[in-house]
Symmetry: C2
Subunit: 215 residues, 2 copies
Amino acid sequence: MLASMWTVKVVSLGVVALSLSLELLFWLFSHRRSERATNKVLFFPSEVACVEHIFSPTLPHSHVCSLPHGVDTSFSRLLRYILSACSSLDLCLFSFSNMDLSRAVLLLHSRGVTVRVLTDKVYSAINGSQIGVLRKAGICVRCDVSAVHMHHKFAVVDGRMLITGSLNWTLTAVQSNMENIIITEEPDLVQPFLKEFCRLWGLNDSAQYLNSVTD
Amino acid sequence: MLASMWTVKVVSLGVVALSLSLELLFWLFSHRRSERATNKVLFFPSEVACVEHIFSPTLPHSHVCSLPHGVDTSFSRLLRYILSACSSLDLCLFSFSNMDLSRAVLLLHSRGVTVRVLTDKVYSAINGSQIGVLRKAGICVRCDVSAVHMHHKFAVVDGRMLITGSLNWTLTAVQSNMENIIITEEPDLVQPFLKEFCRLWGLNDSAQYLNSVTD
């Protein structure tokens, strides 16, 4: 009787120790994996390479493009992060003239992803800006109506992934300048940007703005 | 004899279970705390307020300054993060004309902190740039010698804290524009920036550059 009581106690403690060990291992593993998966840095200028395979993975493009193929560059990685959007893409951009990035945004829009673009009023009107192209395609665009510059360069993918840095969405920034981009899913970083986007989006609602001007 | 053997086994398993529980709790605690402590976001424009108390905490300044006092702003927080440097400050800045930020860097230099400044050649020569002031004070400054823009706006404090975003170190950026800054101690984000700084620092060593030109 005494021995069987001891056996029950030993087995119980063993189960507790085992479950705690497994829980600890799971935490260690998920902690390390989430750190690796969610915090990335890209530096520019990016190596110039063909990005057609990112837009049409199944087609052979080597015969229509003289650039190197199948090269993994900072720019191709950036495109992939943006194209990973499934439900929403919020863009808050000072300058947007890069045609490949514009193509990616248009592709997401055609897939039914909800795209919102907030940009600087002055820079949206410069030669080569893609803002007019996006607007014509039916994408919801708002220009900052204040007298100062809306100097942000960030994107929030599906409300969970933040892409931000020094890089304006221009060809010069991608191919020439020394620039950086952070890609992160850390909630402490993503959430403030999402909140700020919503604040600025509301602030630059042209209907509300017109009402306040005419009040 | 049998009972004492069982006792040893039970006690051993109990110790294992207890130590694993404590380890798990420690991990949970440190994981949550590090997340909270190391990822911060600041948005600009910053409220304009007196920052004298940050430079000289013990002196009363209300009589010499007409700005609001004791107000915690995005800019005062940025200054505090920079002034927290104990051993090193690596700056990689496109444009640097903000006098309060310059004062903070000079103060760190006077305290013996090793300051390195890498900046854009063109913007270092514009009116109001603080680069000449830093150089005259004996701070090690290197200008990017390439034909393109060194468009980064980041700082690494003590090799462990990264400050990066859209904000150039100018008065307009701080007080007028819509800007962002991330402050993080996540190694996955800090280490690539530190590595990139060292790469660019070596690349823009004027002695090496002159040698390669005269070769």
